[in-house]
Structure formats: C-alpha cells, structure tokens
C-alpha cells in the first residue's frame, strides 16, 4: 500500500452520542496481514469505535476520518462499507425473526459479491462446510437468524458470516465476552482461518485471555476515548503475562473498572 491510499487508517477520530463526546482523537493504522488488539476498560470507547467504523446511525462523528481501501468511509452507509470489504462481528447480534440463516447469508453474499455470481448449490455446500468447521449443527441453516440462539451460538454465527463474506478488514467487538473456553477455541479457529497477508483484523477485547488464541502483532490500549499506549509483540507479551492494570494505573485514577 502506498502512502496515498492506506489500507485502513483511523485519523484523529472524534465521535459523540447524545451530545456526550466519547472518542476524543483516535489514531490507528492497520496494514494487510496485521492483527491488532485493542484493549481498554469499560466506558473507554471500545464499542463506540467499532460502531463508528461500521457507521451506526446513533453516533455522530465530529472530527477525523476513517480511511479504508483508499477512501474516507465515514461518508458511506453501513452497507456500502460492508460491500467494500469491511466486517463487524457484533458484541450483541440482533435477531431477525422469520428470516432463515441460509436466506440471510445468501442475500448478504449476493450484496457483497454481486447478484448471481454464486450458484445457490455451491453456496449451500460452502455454508455447510463452514458450519462443520465451526462445529455448528447443520440444522442452524434453517433456523431464523439469531432467533432464540444462545450467546455462544450467536458469536459463532458472527464468525460464520465473516467466513462467508470474506472481508478484507474485520473488527471483532468483544466477541470473546461471555464465551466459555471451548467456544472461544472454536471462534478463534474461525478467525485464524481468515488471517493471512490480505486480511487485516482489529480485535477489541476486555480480557487478555483471547490473546493466547489470536496472536496479535500489535496492541493498543484505549483510555477515555484516546489510544493511551501502543506497542508490538513485546507489549502483547507483557499484557498477556501481567494483564493491563498497570497501564490503567499509569494513566491516573479517573480511569475506573
């Protein structure tokens, strides 16, 4: 990627919701092949950042840019961002009653890759394989999307969608929260299948344990709407070993939890 057309770059991002400023100048660059972890206490703006990247209408960007595939995506609707190859794995996926997983995923794949580019038979075959890989029961294919799913099932469904839509950059918003070790292993297996030289990943998390499953190349700590600390493999190791309480302490006691 040249300087002029960065793959993914957040520049001086400021955002608010209901007149409350949450992001106060976030800067972050991800190159293809990199996996970044973003940690931070509750209320630091982690979920806001993921929502703003995807374009949630409840947040208002007051300053800054998010560049993806060479353009400022803040001007685009969420669906246009997704079609560019951006993906958000939701922390709380919503249910769409009456729409089956198969129908939903086919509609999404058609939107992403173009109507008619994937044959239905080929699509279902691939979907079955991916489901098997994620150790999901095939019956899920006909269930209504996230309707009555357990927390773990919803998270796996997010990863299944990611595998289906093959994004260039994925943001995982606390996908690990509430997962038991087994589910975490399966989810990580799915994510690691995506990782490669043409894929960028931002893993937002509250807990250091996921770092053992998804090895990040970079780690950032978000505190009060700003990246307070960034580092490479050394910082990852340090946090994996000792947690990140020490970083919080370092930035003063107004940062709680």
């Amino acid at each position: 990627m040249s300087e002029k057309t960065p793959f993914f770059e957040i520049r001086n991002l400021h955002a608010k919701t209901e007149d409350k400023p949450i992001l106060k100048g976030v800067n972050l660059t991800i190159l293809p092949g990199e996996t970044h972890a973003l940690m931070g206490p509750n209320g630091s703006g982690k979920s806001t950042l993921s929502n703003v990247i995807m374009g949630h209408p409840a947040y208002e960007v007051t300053d800054g840019e998010v560049i993806f595939q060479g353009q400022n995506i803040l001007e685009l609707d969420p669906d246009a961002r997704a079609r560019l190859g951006l993906f958000l794995a939701f922390q709380y996926p919503v249910a769409i009653p009456g729409i089956s997983v198969a129908k939903f995923l086919k509609s999404a794949a058609d939107a992403r890759f173009g109507q008619g580019t994937i044959k239905p038979s080929q699509f279902i075959k691939q979907l079955r394989e991916d489901m098997k890989f994620l150790e999901m029961n095939e019956a899920f294919i006909n269930r209504f999307l996230n309707d009555g799913f357990s927390g773990g099932e919803k998270k796996r469904m997010e990863i299944l969608q990611m595998l289906t839509l093959k994004p260039a950059l994925a943001v995982m918003d606390e996908t690990d929260s509430g997962l038991d070790i087994d589910a975490l292993r399966i989810v990580s297996k799915g994510v690691n299948r995506m990782v490669g030289p043409n894929f960028g990943l931002l893993v937002i998390t509250h807990y250091e344990r996921i770092l053992r499953y998804i090895a990040p190349s970079h780690l950032h700590v978000l505190i009060d709407g700003q990246i307070a600390m960034s580092g490479g493999p050394d910082l990852v190791k340090e946090v994996e070993k000792n947690g990140y309480d020490w970083i919080r302490e370092k930035f003063g006691k107004e940062v709680l939890v």
């Binding site: 374009g55 669906d79 769409i96 992403r112 209504f144």
Partner: protein, 483 residues
C-alpha cells in the same frame, strides 16, 4: 379491551411516494345506469341481469332495511360521509363475450396488463380465473374441466340464471341482508362476483380465483361471492383486486359468504391492492367488506388469509362461525398501510360447537402517516365445550408519524375454553436495520427483509405462487417508505 396507541421515532422522513402500476384507465364502452340509488335503480340492475322475481324482491327488501340503518362509526377510520346518491351502481362493458360476443380487445389487454390471462390460449395451468370488470364478470376459465367434476364456478349473475335454486338456498344464509349497513347496501345493489359450488367428496383440482377490477369513474363495485363446499369437499380460492388511480374516492362494498359442510375445507386467500390514494390522502378506494364463513358441519375448516396493501380505507373482518363440532377457523392477515391510508381490520371467531378451535395471526405494518388497527373478537358460547383459541397480533411501525392500534375482545362463556392472546408492537428497530446493513444489504432491501420475516407466518399460508407475488408486492410497497 386494550387500546395501545403508540408512535416511535425513526429517521425516515423521506417522500413516501411510489408508483402504483395498476393505476391506468381502460377505454371501454360501458353500459351504465344513471348515478343515484332508489328502488327503480335496483329494479333496473335486477332487470339487466335478467334475475328471477324473488331476487328482485330480495334486493328491494335489503334496500328498505339499508335505508333505516346508519353507517358504522365505531371503526378507527375517519372519512367524510359518503354521498350514496353520487355513485353509479351499475357499469358494465358493452361487449359481453359471455353472451356470445367477442371479448373487447381493450378488456383483454387490460387483464393482460394486470397479469391475468383470460383468453383460453393463455390460461394458467393451476388456476381457474373469473374476471370481474366493474359490475360484470367478463370471463371465467377452465369451466369445462371443472364441470366434469361437478364443480360450479361462474359469476353470480350466471349462477342466478343457471342454478337459481342453489343461490336461493345459500345466498344471505351467512351474512343476512340486514347484517350491517354495508352488507345491506351490497344486498340491494350487488353486481357481480363468483359463485363456487364444490359437490360432496370432490377436491377441487385447481385454485379458483376471481380478479376484481374497478375501471369506470364514480362507480361503486359491489362484489358478491358465495362459496359452498359440500360434505368432504375441498377448495382453495384466491381473490385479487386493483383499480385506476383517480383523485376521487370510490366505493367497494363486498359481501363474501363461505359455507363448509361436514368435513369440508375452504381456504380463501386475498391480495387486496386497490388504489390507495396519493400522499395527501386524495382519492383511493373505500374498501368496506363483510366476509364471513360458516363451518356448518362437524370437522369442517375455513381458513382466511389476507394480504391487504391497498385501499384508502379498509374496513374488513373476515370471520368464522364455528358451529360444527371439532370445526376449525383460521385467520392470517398482513395489513400494510402507508401515506394516509387507514385500515381497521381483524376477525371474529364465534365458537358454538364442541372442541372447536381457532387461530388468529395478524401482522400490521404502518408507515407514513397511516393508521393501522387490529380489531378482533373471540366469542366462546356455553355450548362450545373445550373450545380453543390462539391469537397473536403483532404491529410494526416504520417512521414516527404512523399509528398501530389493537382492539381485541374475548368473551368466554364456558370454563373449559383455552384462550391464548399475544400482542406486540415494535418499531422496525435501528439495531436490526444496522445489523442487516452491516452485511452489505442496502437499507431498502434490509427493511424489506425484516418486514418479510415479520410476515412469514402469514405468507406461508398462501398458495405457493401467490405467496411469491405477495412478497414481491410488499417489497414494492415498501420502496421509499424508509431512507
């Protein structure tokens, strides 16, 4: 009785304008009676249809009852009083192919444009069609094949000529002429509609369908349909409706009666897409309809499925009287309102026989500045031991200027009844839209997907091909209702 009147906020203030693709007018020479209503007009209608004298008398009696009635004011709809003297009660195409003449090519073109092939060479394989244009049925297909099985499928006018004894036996036996204001009016002036008779033990091999088209200006359409299924018979019937786009209101006051004898089953599906008026509420059809089924015999079943997406005002409660023991009544409804449309629709399930059961699934979707009300009654009489009812009525709001109301009434006069009632009102949620859009699906398609999911329980009750049509139609109606 509960009355939940709710509005929600959503940023969807765009123009709720969309094309009504059936809004064209056909240039067909018409044989019309003058505007206005009096006994002479009724006699003239009856004479035009060459009806037996008892029928003329029946109409006049209904007219006299109508004159003593006042129009219903309890519905959650508002409209200026209708001037019944300013309506034309009879308008029929001059060239009547059923009397040996050729079909007016303009008529054939009209139905072709509507996607209803009425000429023999274009017949749809699995569907027999009766095409009603203003006051007259102009073509009925598949008749010979049906006749071989003893099935009668013809227009009401023809039935009065060819099977007067059957009509006399059943007409008005479910909806008496004095039932309500609009039923009385219909009984006095009804023009055409379909008559279906399925003899004992016969399973009708094709879908029977009637397509209603209002064309002439200032003309009301007074459809009268009667379906009788004898012991053990089965029939699936489909009704479709459209009208030209005009800036004055037109009246469609229909009466439909269904009779199911022992072990018989009638499945009645409607897709109503009358012109709904413009964004200012100008024009559109007033759809005042009385539809009622009677499960007369034991183990009979009547099922109403309706997809109501048109008409300026809809006032309609397809009901079932469950008289036969173990009889089953069903009502599945999707009502979509937009712009300034008003719909007050629902059902009545009257349980009389033992072990009778009924199911009500109602999905109301309101957009624009529309008002969408569900009104239902479940009545369990003392004789209806072990009766059961399950009701689920859900409302969805698109935008912040529309209304959804539910008025359910439950009257149980036996302690053995089991009645379940669920109701929800929700706005199409920002979170759902964001989620679907985040997968690359644009806002309009996302809305349509969510609404289709919401309506699924009703759409799956429609005959297969009809269900596809209904989904497409709803998608079309949803265009520009968000964004």
């Amino acid at each position: 009785m509960s009355d939940t009147e709710t509005t929600f906020k959503l940023e969807t203030d765009s123009a709720l304008v969309q094309e009504y693709k059936y809004g064209f007018v056909s240039d067909v020479e018409a044989d019309q009676l003058p505007k206005g209503l009096n006994e002479d007009i009724i006699r003239a209608i009856s004479a035009k249809k060459k009806e037996p004298e008892w029928m003329t008398e029946w109409r006049l009696k209904a007219y006299r009852r109508w004159q003593k009635k006042d129009y219903p004011k309890w519905a959650k709809v508002e409209y200026p009083p209708v001037d019944f003297q300013d309506i034309r009660y009879y308008s029929a195409p001059k060239m009547n192919p059923k009397e040996g003449g050729e079909i007016d090519p303009e008529l054939a073109r009209t139905f072709e444009k509507l996607g209803i092939p009425i000429e023999e060479r274009n017949h749809l394989a699995g569907v027999a069609v009766d095409a009603v244009f203003d006051s007259m049925s102009i073509a009925t297909t598949h008749r010979e094949m049906l006749a071989e099985k003893g099935i009668i499928f013809c227009s009401m006018s023809e039935a009065l000529q060819q099977h007067p004894e059957l009509v006399r036996k059943y007409l008005g036996s479910v909806v008496p002429p004095g039932d309500n204001f609009y039923a009385a009016l219909n009984s006095a002036v009804f023009s055409d509609g379909s008559f279906c008779f399925i003899p004992k033990g016969v399973r009708c091999p094709v879908e029977l369908s009637t397509y209603f088209r209002i064309n002439a200006k200032d003309t009301g359409q007074f459809e009268r349909t009667l379906i009788v299924a004898e012991e053990g018979a089965y029939v699936s019937y489909i009704e479709g409706c459209t009208a030209p786009q005009r800036d004055n209101n037109q009246l469609h006051a229909a009466v439909v009666e269904l009779i199911a004898m022992e072990g018989a089953e009638i499945k009645y599906s409607t897709v109503q897409n009358w012109y709904a008026g413009d964004e200012n509420g100008q024009g559109g059809i007033y759809n005042f309809v009385t539809k009622r089924g009677h499960c007369r015999g034991a183990n009979s079943k009547i099922s109403w499925t309706q997809v109501e997406v048109g008409a300026a005002i809809t006032w309609k409660y397809p009901s079932v009287i469950l008289e036969g023991d173990n009889s089953v009544g069903e009502f599945y409804s999707v009502a979509f309102t937009n712009k300034k449309m008003q719909a007050d629709t629902g059902t009545k399930m009257i349980h009389i026989g033992k072990n009778t059961s009924s199911t009500i699934i109602s999905k109301g979707i309101s957009a624009g500045e529309s008002v969408n009300s569900y009104r239902g009654m479940v009545r369990i009489l003392p004789s209806a031991l072990n009766a059961r009812n399950h009701t689920c009525c859900d409302s969805m709001l698109i935008g912040d200027k529309c209304f959804a109301n539910t008025y359910p009434v439950i009257e149980a006069e036996t302690s053995t009844a089991i009645i379940e009632h669920e109701a929800t009102t929700s706005k199409i949620s920002e979170e759902q839209l964001f989620y679907v859009q985040s997968r690359g699906i644009d806002e309009e398609s996302a809305t349509s997907l969510i609404v289709n999911g919401f309506c699924r329980d009703v759409f799956k009750e429609l005959p297969m091909e009809f269900s596809v049509e209904a989904i497409k139609l709803l998608e079309l109606k949803l265009e520009h209702s968000v964004g």
